[in-house]
Symmetry: C2
């Protein structure tokens, strides 16, 4: 730990008129917050200010009175209204000077792209005296930390674009800040599907109440539940081992049966499971219209386990491409267990896959009836041991919600099938 400094609390101050007028959603604040929380740095307040140096100065000054560290994002660009650096330097009594390494990096960035570098761009390499500079591997503006040793305060400036900010936060800011924290924090997320948040919480309530290190906290999101296990210790390895013990303990509870992975997503867990077992999957979709296939192929390297799928909105497509029988469609309807099963079998056969997954349902807003309401979805699963279907009655929170929920259920059904195979 660096001499004399402690960072116990931080505030986030994002700069940009485009956030204030709602033109972009402030995802940077959420990203930085998550990382700070993992380090055990307290956050009581965050704010957004426009590209106005007077107001920026006012809010920054107030924030510095409250927190040990202020993390700012935005306003490091090349244009005249990018004034974050100048305002911070002024407030903290520093002068800006050309930073040679940053200038060289900028020159080679532009040379590599065969773009002429302007004087505006050179401005991006001007740094307040005595700053710690964070190289930008994904853009032009370097980040920096300006330390006020007397007051024990740190101001960190990061570029606004998320694809520049995320790697800089992970690779430079976290190692930098860890000099000023007494312990290391490390979290792992247990991924749970098929059990509600309140049920999960009631089962692990005793563990949550009695465990101080690591701590365990539940979070619900998009029909999934996560349990975040956070350990505090002298180094990352010690924390990881504390987390792993706790994860093992939670696996032994009734929650265990619904845990599909750790630090993963349904689609990543599915692709990994299929790879392990050397299985291929094929998908036939009606109400989700491609969302399941799209989600599987979001995963890098999914082509090893996924050859293709069919989107069968119309009954003719269900018949011709998937071999669903006219009899089934007439007798039971397109939204039925029977159709889901025949779709799953059909796509498995058609794609020469090991597992076939099918979805048919009513995503709304139209098309529902008393007997078959909006939100009714059947998932067909065809594997080595046979074919079955399950019925979902998804709450009608709108078309998007129903489609996302159906997709997650289908991915989970596929994981279970892969485990059985």
């Amino acid at each position: 730990m660096k001499q004399g400094y402690r960072v116990k609390s931080a505030e986030i101050l994002c700069v940009g008129t485009e956030i204030l007028i709602g033109d972009i959603i402030n995802t940077n604040a959420a990203y930085i917050s998550t990382r700070l929380a993992e380090m055990g740095i307290n956050q009581y307040h965050q704010e957004v200010v426009g590209d106005n140096p007077d107001r920026l100065r006012y809010y920054l000054k107030n924030a510095l009175d409250r927190a040990d560290c202020i993390i700012m994002s935005g306003g490091l660009g090349p244009t005249y209204d990018d004034l974050t650096k100048e305002t911070v330097a002024d407030l903290m009594g520093r002068e800006l000077h050309m930073h040679e390494r940053s200038l060289q990096r900028l020159e080679s960035y532009f040379a590599g792209r065969k773009i002429k570098m302007t004087d505006n761009n050179r401005k991006q390499a001007m740094i307040p005296d005595g700053s710690v500079v964070f190289d930008n591997d994904c853009g032009t503006a370097p980040g920096m930390a300006v330390e006020d040793e007397e007051r024990g305060k740190i101001v960190i400036l990061l570029p606004g674009p998320p694809r520049e900010l995320h790697p800089m936060m992970d690779n430079a800011v976290i190692p930098y800040l860890s000099q000023f924290t007494e312990s290391v924090f490390f979290s792992r997320n247990i991924n749970i599907f098929g059990m509600g948040e309140s049920t999960v919480a009631s089962i692990v309530d005793d563990i949550m109440q009695t465990s101080e290190n690591p701590t365990v906290a539940p979070y619900a999101k998009d029909s999934e539940v996560r349990l975040r296990v956070t350990a505090k210790g002298s180094d990352k390895e010690a924390c990881a081992s504390l987390c792993d013990e706790m994860i093992e303990r939670i696996r032994q509870t009734e929650v265990g049966a619904c845990i599909y992975g750790v630090d993963t997503s349904l689609e990543e867990a599915l692709v990994a499971r299929l790879k392990e077992k050397g299985l291929k999957i094929a998908v036939a979709e009606s109400c989700t219209g491609g969302m399941v296939s799209k989600t599987i192929t979001d995963v890098r390297g999914s082509s090893a386990v996924f050859d293709g799928g069919v989107i069968s909105y119309a009954n003719e497509v269900k018949q011709q491409l998937l071999g669903v029988s006219a009899h089934t469609l007439e007798t039971y309807g397109a939204v039925s267990e029977q159709t889901a099963m025949e779709m799953a079998e059909g796509v498995k056969k058609r794609m020469n896959a090991d597992i076939g997954i099918a979805l048919t349902g009513i995503a709304g807003p139209d098309g529902g009836s008393e007997e078959k309401p909006v939100g009714l979805v059947y998932i067909g699963v065809s594997g080595k041991a046979g074919t079955f279907a399950k019925e979902l009655r998804i709450r009608n929170n709108g078309r998007d919600y129903i489609r996302v929920s159906a997709t997650k259920n289908a991915l989970h059904a596929a994981i279970c099938e892969a485990e059985r195979a």
Copy 2:
């Protein structure tokens, strides 16, 4: 306009520890901001505070010193740490009393869902004296406006969940606030595809510089450009007519050829165009793995124009389901103009559609070569007049970016084909 009051400036104060620790992204602030900007209400600052009444009081008090109106979201729930209402009432010297209409609404909400109502839930119907109450059509917590007539300040409290906040903002808060603004503001967005932001800006530069009402401003997002036209006037109709004149003027410039719609999205514009012309579309996807079909079927009522699609990751699927010839795959490869054209023809025929769209490319991160780098995508279009393919060389900003950009290009190509048909 209501007597004696003016709302010229507002600040947004979101309440919730889950935002501070990065567990949820603050989309409410962006939503509220957009609506306020449209009304011409200035915003210079926004902030987030945790579920802590002392800090909440401190920040709210400061915000009231700066702005005419504070809009708060969150902390209206039934649990003990939901304290927004109590804190506002205390700061503004009001008592909380049971609000009969809200209580009745709550009772019928729970009765309708056959859930027992607890005392905690009754707490949600307690309202500071003299407030204007906004009914919640999508949840339990009513919103409210607490007016301080002496100081000419208004505090508006809204529920945290976006699906409750959005309709309340649109249906109750905007009409309420419009009593306190001198003019009405109204915006329309011109949707542009296939022209970069700087080109668009340079073409309409003269219009942007000289036009005061309506104003015109460019925004770039996800490979699209929007021109936002905002008019100020005595009523909505007068503003709309000013906007329409400006839109017509911009259509006459070189930008006109790249305008695909107004206040729409590529997928909505495509579905509308296909409906108008009575055409059906079918999609064959390789690198996008279902994203194009998923995006089309995001649109309500898309089943009228979309019967289905094929996701052909593997070459065998391209051959067997789409009829791409082995010769083409061997000679030109799966990622080629020729394959894209045969996929488009094949899916059109297979689905008995009027337009077939196909995508084949390299989304990465692996699979690229010097000759066929990551980001190379071919879009095949097969319509009444024949079949062609176009080559895209998408910047390698990652797998997601490439897939989204390819999807948008495919949707745009389909719009152009529908217009030609």
